[in-house]
């Protein structure tokens, strides 16, 4: 049994939540505080009148009178609460009306005849309304002709049943004179059959209901079952003549069973309230479970709807996608299900395909929507941050690579330009000098030699400058040769323990070289070391370069731009730099440089930085 499926696409906007439901709001928002107050007051007045009138006549015990008025009030209370909670359902108004009519039906005693007639009609309608409420769907409609027949029969049974409460039924008096026993027997059989059919239908309806729907209707149906069985039992007991028709026990049992109906409605509303609380917990739980499939599981559990589906909006594909990544049109799932669309500033976020019964509580889906929106938005943000981080990482690596390429270009320009010209110039000078022979002016020869010396010094300086910009050895002979060169030039004795044999990606070699170069420069400047060691080892997907010395230690990577710059340099290509430098215990600097900057090295000590 699926409630409220219409062909039309009835979208109701409520804040940012858009609920696509295939049902129409019936009672709407008719209930105003004034109306509620008026109905409650009417019920109270009725209750007071019942107590006063019945006390005067006093055909039954006081407890029966009080219970009788109390049941009516309970109906009114539960009805008003239900009406407020589920404005779309006819159940609330029906219950209030039942309460009012119920109490009107108890207005018996020394009252004028019209009043008695009103009481008869009211009692009949009230009883029929109770049956109607039990058979109607949550939206308040009777689905089958049989349902309607049962309600009509209940109306008649209510008329017949009046004397059990009033003890004075002119209608029955009129009917009973020709063949009272036969008529009574027929009415009893019809009543029992009606009640039995109603019970079967209620049980069948419960059986067909979805899990979320059952959560709401179970208490009410249990109450209905009790009312029905009690009525049958009474019919049987009275017909068998075991207990007199007007006995207080029967009346109290009857009242108690009817009282179960408003109480069960209150229980049902309470359960819905608890479901909302469960949804509130959802926010917390979702925060701890980021996987998409978990979201579905958690939601399904919180809402008690195992068939619940979450379709996420994929802006790239411009479609909703399920957990398997398949594009899905939500309305295609809407056959027997309701779809709630989540939006943010007009942009779709997700769609929840769920049991339509979840819409009976208008507060539920908005709570879910809020929780979901937080979660989905969180996911979006996280994905966005990840994406941006990736971009920043890549751009940082690109900047470093571009810097290296630029250094290389400058070095090459120096080599092919200024250095080459100066070498050629030096060569020409040498030629000139040799041509002059030994007979030339000694002053001129001395001058020429001086120029030649100056030129050589200029060349040497230029060479050092170019080496600092980008060591030719790195491009020509690789990291191993360049590290040996560094060691040969270091003022502190350096042992090169291990170098990689083959060539590595240019960025890796350059980064490792600058790490060693900067580290050895620091050793020479600050460490007061007697020796240092360098090792470069290729591991799985990275190069680990280590520089250590036996100096004074106490190097702080946060002080001085040298080490900080080095850290930046290494991290820019996805690597990790760690420095151990206890005071007096030497310094050990380790850099892990990934072969591929897109797959960053994970240094054990540093973790994510």
């Amino acid at each position: 049994m699926v409630s409220g499926i219409y062909g039309c696409h009835d979208a109701a906007m409520s804040g940012e939540l858009r609920t696509v439901r295939w049902s129409r709001p019936l009672a709407g928002r008719l209930l105003s505080p004034a109306l509620a107050g008026g109905l409650a007051a009417l019920a109270l007045v009725e209750a007071a009148a019942i107590v006063v009138l019945r006390s005067v006549v006093n055909p039954v015990g006081l407890e029966v009178i009080l219970a009788s008025a109390g049941v009516g009030l309970l109906f009114v209370m539960a009805g008003l609460l239900g009406w407020a909670r589920r404005p779309a359902s006819l159940m609330g108004p029906a219950m209030v009306l039942t309460g009012v009519l119920w109490n009107a039906g108890r207005l018996q005693g020394p009252v004028p005849l019209p009043m008695v007639v009103v009481a008869f009609v009211a009692t009949s309608i009230g009883l029929a309304l109770i049956v109607y409420m039990l058979l109607a769907d949550p939206a308040g409609r009777l689905a089958s002709p049989l349902d309607r027949l049962i309600v009509v029969l209940a109306l008649l049974a209510g008329v017949r049943d009046i004397p059990s409460v009033s003890g004075a039924n002119p209608l029955q008096d009129a009917l009973s004179s020709p063949a009272p026993a036969t008529l009574s027997w027929v009415l009893s059989v019809v009543g029992v059959l009606t009640i039995a059919t109603a019970i079967v239908m209620v049980v069948a309806r419960w059986w067909r209901s979805s899990a979320p729907a059952r959560r709401t209707i179970t208490p009410i149906y249990v109450a209905a079952l009790v009312v029905g069985l009690r009525a049958i039992a009474q019919e049987v007991v009275v017909s068998a003549g075991l207990i007199g028709k007007g006995s207080d026990v029967l009346k109290l049992a009857e009242l108690a069973s009817f009282a179960l109906i408003p109480l069960s409605v209150l229980l049902s509303l309470l359960r819905a309230e608890l479901a909302r609380t469960a949804v509130a917990d959802l926010v917390i739980e979702l925060g701890q479970t980021p996987e998409p499939a978990r979201l579905r599981t958690v939601l399904a559990r919180a809402l008690g709807d195992p068939g619940l589906e979450v379709l996420r909006w994929s802006p790239e594909r411009f479609a909703y996608v399920d957990d398997a990544g398949q594009a899905v049109e939500p309305s295609a799932r809407a056959g027997s299900r309701a779809v709630t669309l989540l939006e943010r500033s007009g942009r779709p976020l997700a769609a929840i395909v769920h049991d339509p019964a979840l819409l009976d509580d208008p507060g539920l889906m908005p709570s879910v929507a809020t929780a979901m929106r937080l979660e989905v938005e969180n996911e979006h943000l996280q994905a966005e941050v990840e994406k941006q981080l990736g971009e920043v990482r890549r751009s940082r690596a690109r900047i470093v690579e571009a810097g290296d390429a630029e250094r290389k270009r400058v070095e090459r320009n120096l080599h092919d330009g200024a250095q080459q010209r100066l070498v050629a110039l030096s060569l020409t000078l040498g030629l000139l000098r040799s041509k002059m022979g030994s007979n030339a002016d000694p002053a001129l020869i001395a001058q020429l030699d001086s120029v030649s010396r100056e030129l050589k010094e200029a060349l040497a300086e230029l060479r050092d400058l170019a080496r600092g910009i980008h060591p030719a050895a790195l491009a020509q002979a690789g990291l191993g040769a360049a590290l040996l060169n560094l060691a040969e030039r270091s003022p502190v004795p350096v042992v090169i323990e291990q170098v990689p044999q083959g060539r590595l990606p240019a960025t890796v070699e350059t980064t490792a070289y600058f790490v060693a170069s900067e580290a050895l420069a620091n050793v020479a400047k600050y460490a007061r070391a007697t020796r240092a060691a360098v090792s470069a080892v290729v591991c799985d997907d990275c190069l680990t370069i280590e520089v250590r010395d036996d100096g004074v230690g106490g190097a702080d990577p946060n002080l001085g731009s040298g080490l900080l710059g080095l850290t930046d340099r290494v991290e820019a290509v996805g690597g990790r730099l760690s420095i151990e430098s206890p005071a007096g215990g030497g310094t050990r600097l380790v850099a892990d440089i990934p072969m591929d900057p897109a797959r960053p090295a994970v240094a054990g000590a540093n973790g994510e930085g």
Partner: protein, 216 residues
């Protein structure tokens, strides 16, 4: 002596060609990259090729690779003197390791020292080894943890450096104004102090000494 010049700078080639011609060499060809050089060596059959290490297309170590190709193809008959604007001990070692000699590695600036340059070309042409004094000085002067090198006398260190440059005993004796016998005695002392096995010829000696200096 027939010489070929290979360098991507025309300016340098022309200057060096004039300098060598003036010094009595016969410059039989010029090349601007490795491929041209190999082709030219095949056709002109020079005694020596003077080659810049950095040439197109990669501007890294084409000269060295061309030298290795020439040695492989022509053996001792063609000597190669490699010129470079930077001195790398790694390349010096490669030069010393290659073949049976006839290979040199020299700083390009030194071309302006006419005597040094022509002497180097001649030595390579005769099948000798030439290692730039700058590389040797850097290796000998390198700071190292205390070791056998500290046991050498000043004169022994001089002899060691000259050996590493690829000079013969006679050349060393001339340089230091001592007899060849004295040089031999110094060399024996050096090898014994450094615990090196005596080398059979000059270029093996260069390799042994360079390797020691570089690793030790």
């Amino acid at each position: 002596m027939r010489v070929i010049l290979a360098d991507d700078s025309l300016l340098f080639r022309e200057g060096a060609a004039r300098l060598l011609s003036d010094a009595g060499f016969e410059v039989v060809g010029q090349a601007s990259n490795g491929a041209e050089l190999l082709d030219l060596v095949r056709r002109a059959k020079p005694d020596v090729a003077v080659v810049d290490i950095r040439m197109p297309p990669t501007h890294t170590d084409e000269g060295l690779r061309a030298a290795e190709a020439i040695l492989a193809e022509h053996g001792q008959s063609v000597g190669v003197l490699i010129l470079s604007q930077y001195l790398e001990s790694a390349f010096a070692l490669r030069v010393a390791t290659e073949g049976q000699g006839g290979l040199g590695y020299m700083l390009k600036d030194r071309v302006s020292d006419l005597d040094e340059f022509t002497e180097a070309v001649k030595r390579v042409g005769r099948g000798g080894v030439v290692i730039d004094p700058g590389v040797v000085a850097q290796l000998v002067g390198r700071r190292r943890v205390k070791g056998p090198l500290d046991e050498l006398t000043e004169r022994e260190r001089e002899v060691l450096a000259l050996m590493a440059e690829g000079r013969s005993n006679m050349a060393i004796a001339e340089r230091l104004f001592v007899t060849e016998k004295t040089v031999e005695a110094h060399i024996a002392a050096v090898f014994s102090k450094l615990e090196l096995a005596p080398a059979a010829d000059d270029h093996r000696r260069v390799l042994a000494v360079l390797t020691y200096l570089r690793v030790g």
